[in-house]
C-alpha cells in the first residue's frame, strides 16, 4: 500500500471512529431530541455544524476548481453561497426559532393554517433535498475510489453505514454533533495545503493576504494574456453581467430557502442564539470561502507555469490512453525534473493531453475563452485534490484532504437526510395522517424513515442520475422560488394567507421547474438543442430569481384578493416577531 493510501486508511478509520463515538453518545430518547437536538446546541457549535452541513463535497472539492476556471465570474458562487446567510440571519432565523416547531413544512402549515400548504411544502422539501443528496453519496464513493482504490460502490455503502448509525440513533442531535467534528476535519484539510502553497508561491502563509499583497495575481493575469486567454481578473468573460446578477441573486435567496439550512436554526436554545449562530456559521464558512479563491489563483498559476512548455520525456500507457511523462520547462529552478503529479493524475483520469501534445513540448494554447486549456484537459477537481502533491506536501496531508472531502460529503448528506425523513415521518405521517401517535410511535417512525432514506440515498449514490450537476442547480432554483418568498412574507406580511401561499409556492415551483427542463433539455432529454435558450437572457442557473419574483407577486396579490388570515394567525405572526416567550417544549397536538 502506498504511503498516501496507508495514511488515508488511518485517517478514515480515525475520523469515522470519532463520528461513530459521537453518534453513540448523542443517542436520543424523544422526538424533541430526534428532530431538533433538544434545542440545546450552543450558538457557536451550531454555527460550526451549519457550516459543515452547508459545505458539501462540491464546496470542498469542486468550488476552488470552478473559480480557477471562471476567474472573476467565480464570484457567483462566492457571493451567492455566502450572501444568503445575511438574509437568513436578518429575515428568517430568529423568527423561525421563536416559532419553535420541528420542520419547515411545520411553519408553512401552521402559519398558513392549511394542510394543503403543509403537504406542498413537504413535497417540495423532499424534492429539493433528494436532488441534492444524490450527489453527496456519490462524492463519498468517489473519494474512496480515488484515495483508497476501493470500488466506488463499496465506498458508498461504507458511507451509508456510518450515516445510518449516527442518524438513526441520534437523529438531529447525533447529526449536529458529528457535523461539528466534521467541520474541524474539513477546515483543517482545506487550509493546511492552502497555507503551504501560499507560502511557497507568495512568501505569505496566509492565503487571503498572499492573494492580495503579492504579485501572484498580476503574474497570472500576465501569463494568461501571453497565452491568448482573457485576464483572470477580467469580469464577465464567462457570463454576461445580467446573468452574474441573476445567478448571484438566485443562489443567495436559494441558500436562504434551503430546508436543511433553515432547520439548523431550530436547534439553538433561543432567538438570540439563533442570530449569533448565523454569524458563527458564516464566519466558519468564510474561512473556507476566502481561502478557496486564493487557492484557485495559486493552483492555476502553478499548473500553467508547470505545464506550459513542459517537455515530453516519454510516453507510457496504452494506445487509447497514453500517459505523457513530463519534465518541468526551462527557466524554472526544477527544469528538466520529472513532473510526478502529472503522471499520477493522468493515471487517475484527472488530466489528459490531446495527441497534438505529443512530440517534444506541451504547449497550453487556447481554443475558447472559457479558461480551459486546448491541448491539456484538466478536471477542475484537480485544483483541490492535486494541490498538496504539487506543493510537495507529505502523504499525511494528501490523506487529510481525502478525510476532509468525506467529512464534507457526510455532513451535508446527513443534514439532507434528516429533512427528507422528517418530511415523511413528522409532516406527513404525524401531522397529516395520524395526529394521535404518541412519542414512542413518532420516534420509531422517525428512525425507520431515516434508515430507508439512507438506503435510498445510497441507491442514488450507486446509480446516480446522469445529470447530477443540473440537479443541484435545480435544488437552488426551486428553494429560491418556492420557499423563500412565502416564509419571508409569512413573517413580514400579516395579510399573507393560505390561498396566497399555496398559489405562490406552486407558481414558483412549476415555473422554475418547467424553465429548467426546457433550457436544459439537451442534458436532461437528449434533444439536439435546448428547447429554449434563455428567459429574456437569463439562463437556467439564474431562473430561480424570476421564479421567486413571481412567487412574491402571486402570493401578495392572491392574499389580498381573498379572506384575511384569522385573528389567531395574525396573533401568531405578532408573537413570532418578539423574542420573549420562546418555549422550551412546544406542546404538540396543539
Amino acid at each position: 500500500m502506498g504511503a498516501v493510501e496507508l495514511w488515508t486508511f488511518i485517517l478514515v478509520i480515525l475520523t469515522f471512529g470519532i463520528y461513530l463515538y459521537i453518534g453513540y453518545t448523542s443517542r436520543v430518547r424523544d422526538t424533541k431530541g430526534f428532530y431538533v437536538a433538544g434545542q440545546g446546541v450552543p450558538a457557536m457549535a451550531n454555527g460550526a455544524a451549519t457550516a459543515a452541513d452547508w459545505m458539501s463535497a462540491a464546496s470542498f472539492i469542486s468550488m476552488a476548481g470552478l473559480i480557477s476556471f471562471m476567474g472573476f465570474d467565480g464570484a457567483i458562487y462566492l457571493l451567492g453561497w455566502t450572501g444568503g446567510y445575511v438574509l437568513l440571519a436578518l429575515l428568517l432565523a430568529p423568527y423561525l426559532r421563536k416559532f419553535g416547531k420541528y420542520t419547515v413544512p411545520d411553519f408553512v402549515g401552521d402559519r398558513y393554517y392549511s394542510k394543503t400548504a403543509r403537504a406542498v411544502a413537504a413535497i417540495a422539501a423532499v424534492f429539493v433535498s433528494l436532488t441534492y443528496v444524490a450527489g453527496q453519496m456519490r462524492g463519498v464513493g468517489v473519494v474512496f475510489g480515488r484515495f483508497l482504490g476501493l470500488d466506488v460502490n463499496w465506498g458508498v455503502v461504507i458511507g451509508m453505514v456510518i450515516v445510518a448509525f449516527f442518524a438513526v440513533l441520534g437523529g438531529m442531535k447525533g447529526i449536529t454533533w458529528t457535523q461539528v467534528a466534521q467541520y474541524f476535519v474539513l477546515i483543517l484539510a482545506f487550509i493546511i495545503p492552502a497555507v503551504a502553497i501560499s507560502t511557497q508561491l507568495t512568501g505569505n502563509p496566509i492565503p487571503q493576504l498572499g492573494l492580495v499583497f503579492s504579485n501572484i495575481t498580476n503574474n497570472l493575469d500576465d501569463i494568461q494574456r501571453e497565452l491568448g486567454f482573457q485576464e483572470y481578473t477580467q469580469p464577465f468573460t464567462n457570463l454576461d453581467q445580467l446573468n452574474v446578477f441573476a445567478i448571484t441573486i438566485a443562489l443567495m435567496i436559494g441558500t436562504a430557502g434551503l430546508p436543511h439550512v433553515i432547520v439548523r436554526f431550530y436547534t439553538v436554545p433561543n432567538v438570540r442564539a439563533a442570530r449569533y449562530s448565523a454569524g458563527w456559521a458564516l464566519l466558519f464558512i468564510a474561512l473556507l470561502y476566502t481561502t478557496a479563491p486564493a487557492l484557485a489563483v495559486f493552483a492555476r498559476y502553478n499548473l500553467i507555469n508547470s505545464l506550459n512548455g513542459a517537455q515530453v520525456a516519454s510516453v507510457t500507457g496504452t494506445e487509447e490512453e497514453p500517459i505523457y511523462n513530463l519534465t518541468y520547462p526551462d527557466g524554472r529552478e526544477d527544469a528538466g525534473q520529472p513532473i510526478e503529479w502529472a503522471t499520477s493524475w493522468q493515471e487517475a483520469g484527472l488530466l489528459s493531453f490531446t495527441p497534438d501534445a505529443v512530440g517534444d513540448e506541451v504547449t497550453i494554447s487556447m481554443a475558447s475563452a472559457t479558461g480551459g486549456f486546448a491541448e491539456a484537459t484538466i478536471d477542475r477537481d484537480i485544483i483541490v485534490l492535486a494541490t498538496p502533491e504539487i506543493a510537495q506536501l507529505s502523504p499525511f496531508v494528501i490523506a487529510l484532504v481525502a478525510a476532509g472531502g468525506l467529512a464534507a460529503a457526510l455532513s451535508t448528506a446527513s443534514g439532507l437526510l434528516l429533512v427528507i425523513s422528517s418530511a415523511f415521518s413528522h409532516d406527513i405521517y404525524y401531522r397529516l395522517i395520524n395526529p394521535n401517535a404518541d412519542e414512542a410511535q413518532r420516534l420509531l417512525v422517525g428512525r425507520i424513515v431515516i434508515f430507508f432514506g439512507v438506503v435510498a440515498a445510497g441507491y442514488f449514490g450507486i446509480n446516480p442520475p446522469g445529470f447530477v450537476a443540473e440537479v443541484v442547480a435545480f435544488a437552488f432554483g426551486l428553494a429560491a422560488a418556492s420557499f423563500f418568498p412565502i416564509i419571508l412574507l409569512g413573517i413580514f406580511d400579516k395579510r399573507a394567507n393560505n390561498y396566497g401561499a399555496i398559489a405562490g409556492m406552486l407558481t414558483g415551483l412549476i415555473f422554475t421547474m418547467v424553465m429548467i427542463l426546457l433550457m436544459r433539455s439537451v442534458q436532461l432529454f437528449g434533444t439536439e438543442a435546448p428547447i429554449i435558450e434563455s428567459f429574456f437572457g437569463i439562463t437556467a442557473q439564474g431562473i430561480g430569481t424570476v421564479g421567486a419574483i413571481l412567487n412574491f407577486l402571486v402570493t401578495f396579490i392572491v392574499s389580498r384578493a381573498t379572506a384575511a388570515p384569522p385573528q389567531e394567525i395574525q396573533d401568531l405572526v405578532e408573537s413570532v416577531r418578539v423574542p420573549r416567550g420562546v418555549s422550551a417544549a412546544p406542546a404538540h397536538g396543539d
Binding site: F72, L90, P235, Q241, P293, R580
Partner: protein, 95 residues
Amino acid sequence: MATADRKIAKVDSAEKAQAYWKTNIRLILGLLAVWALVSYVAAIGLAIPLDGVRIGNVPFSFWMAHQGAIVVFVILIFTYAKVMDRVDNKFDVHE
C-alpha cells in the same frame, strides 16, 4: 378598574411591540443596503467602471467579489446580533 388597567396594559404592550418591530425593520433595511452595496453594486455593477482601481495588487471589484464582500457579510450578521441585544433590552422583549 382592573379591566381598564388590563386594557391600558394591552395597548401599551401593543404599541411597544409595534415600536420594537419598526426599529427592527429599520435596522434590517440599513444592513441590507450595505449587503446590496458590497455585492451587487461594488462587486458586480461597478466591475467595469472601476477597472483601474486597485486594492493591494488586485482590482477593487475583483477583491470585493472574491473576498471583501464575504468579510462584510460576516460583520453585518454579528452587528445585527449585537445591536438587537441592545434593542431587545431597551424594549423589554428579551428572553
